[in-house]
Symmetry: D2
Subunit: 140 residues, 4 copies
Amino acid sequence: MALVQKAQKAKEQAYCPYSKFRVGAAVLAIYSTVFLTGCNVENTSYPLGLCAEMTAISKAVSEGYISFKAIAIASDLEDCFISPCGACRQFMREFGSQWDVYMSKSDGSYKLMTVEELLPCSFGPDDLRKGKNPVGNSKL
Amino acid sequence: MALVQKAQKAKEQAYCPYSKFRVGAAVLAIYSTVFLTGCNVENTSYPLGLCAEMTAISKAVSEGYISFKAIAIASDLEDCFISPCGACRQFMREFGSQWDVYMSKSDGSYKLMTVEELLPCSFGPDDLRKGKNPVGNSKL
Amino acid sequence: MALVQKAQKAKEQAYCPYSKFRVGAAVLAIYSTVFLTGCNVENTSYPLGLCAEMTAISKAVSEGYISFKAIAIASDLEDCFISPCGACRQFMREFGSQWDVYMSKSDGSYKLMTVEELLPCSFGPDDLRKGKNPVGNSKL
Amino acid sequence: MALVQKAQKAKEQAYCPYSKFRVGAAVLAIYSTVFLTGCNVENTSYPLGLCAEMTAISKAVSEGYISFKAIAIASDLEDCFISPCGACRQFMREFGSQWDVYMSKSDGSYKLMTVEELLPCSFGPDDLRKGKNPVGNSKL
């Protein structure tokens, strides 16, 4: 599958000296034929690293896309369909919950789920709006 | 329910001048009767903020707990059971997937799901170990 | 020094199976004699981990403190005064820039700098307020 | 200045419905004439947002660059040279501390500092290696 192959190719650029765990991702926007790709970019201070999915989606947003059809994820795991971490699922969900996530094994086979299925009962843009407290925290 | 009430109480300490969205959380460790609580702690640079669930769980870890029975989450939303964001689900999942998440409304009613149900097909500690690439990225 | 000793003690609770790099922190609020402590809490998905300083400060906020006098940081490094990562400096700066950061070696000796010195020309709460664009992004 | 202009242009793609604070960044790799750009990409769950600098640098890494000459940052602020948050300084520092950061005002004027000057006494790749505890945390 083309999207998975793009994710596999993107994996080669992974900067992961700490985890040694290479991940690639490729995203396809709606009404587009352009594949935007990303890899994980780790940091000495681990919490500052970025996942491949975040890199790919933020790249797409920075190039003007905000509606997506599908994303594919690839790692070196032979026996496991690599799934997005919870943070990436939330990052995806910002741009809708009805799009496709192709989780692949290293041989290119894949499993398909929607963002909604991966993040049920999600907290999204609409929920935040409803919850605004007009008073807020005025301690500072 | 006691755990939800602790989360509601914890919400009062929320530091959320940016979102004005107050959240509280309370966690209960296995073999313990101590409730550890947290609130959201926001930052001018939004990505640096912490969710209430992260605050509560990291507090618990810093006090020696790493096995949990349940967590409750509370917000000011009247009509919505506040659910954890994807990042918090992953943060919880580090410490097991078979524990309970009580998502509450402001009146104290709640909905119960396990971490597993909130983060299906999750990527956890075991998966990382399997995927280590002995070569890694040696570009730097 | 008492604050450094508290940070060293807090380090023992570090949950760091990935980096094997244990860090502890202790914070002292203004008008308070209570030391609040934290440790690093890592995650399989590295970007979701928390640093010791974040854990300690968020714990303090969740217990009602938002003005701080000093924080101490401790690691197992013998030859290096452990300094906070950039994210932690920003996390500290949210609560003022004129407070003290004690960076210690494993023998308890330390080096002292202010948040301001560690994060010169910082971007803080006031800057965000000035920059609000009334129109925002209305693409979604 | 060309790099600042690229950052200003990149700002137009900012996805910032929550902060309404648009930021753009442009990075120039060593031995390259290609400018890689990014914008902030926010999230309903604020901690999951990405800064413009992170987007630009991760995009560059995903395209094979890991040594940088300079980065420029642009916002809508008229009276303030927009400076990177602490997390972005750490993200930059992963790829060296002797490169240039152009912090600009909305009229294109700028202030120049190095990563080192913005993040003194930083914690970088070498420090982590020194601090590895062979035992680690074996609680789980």
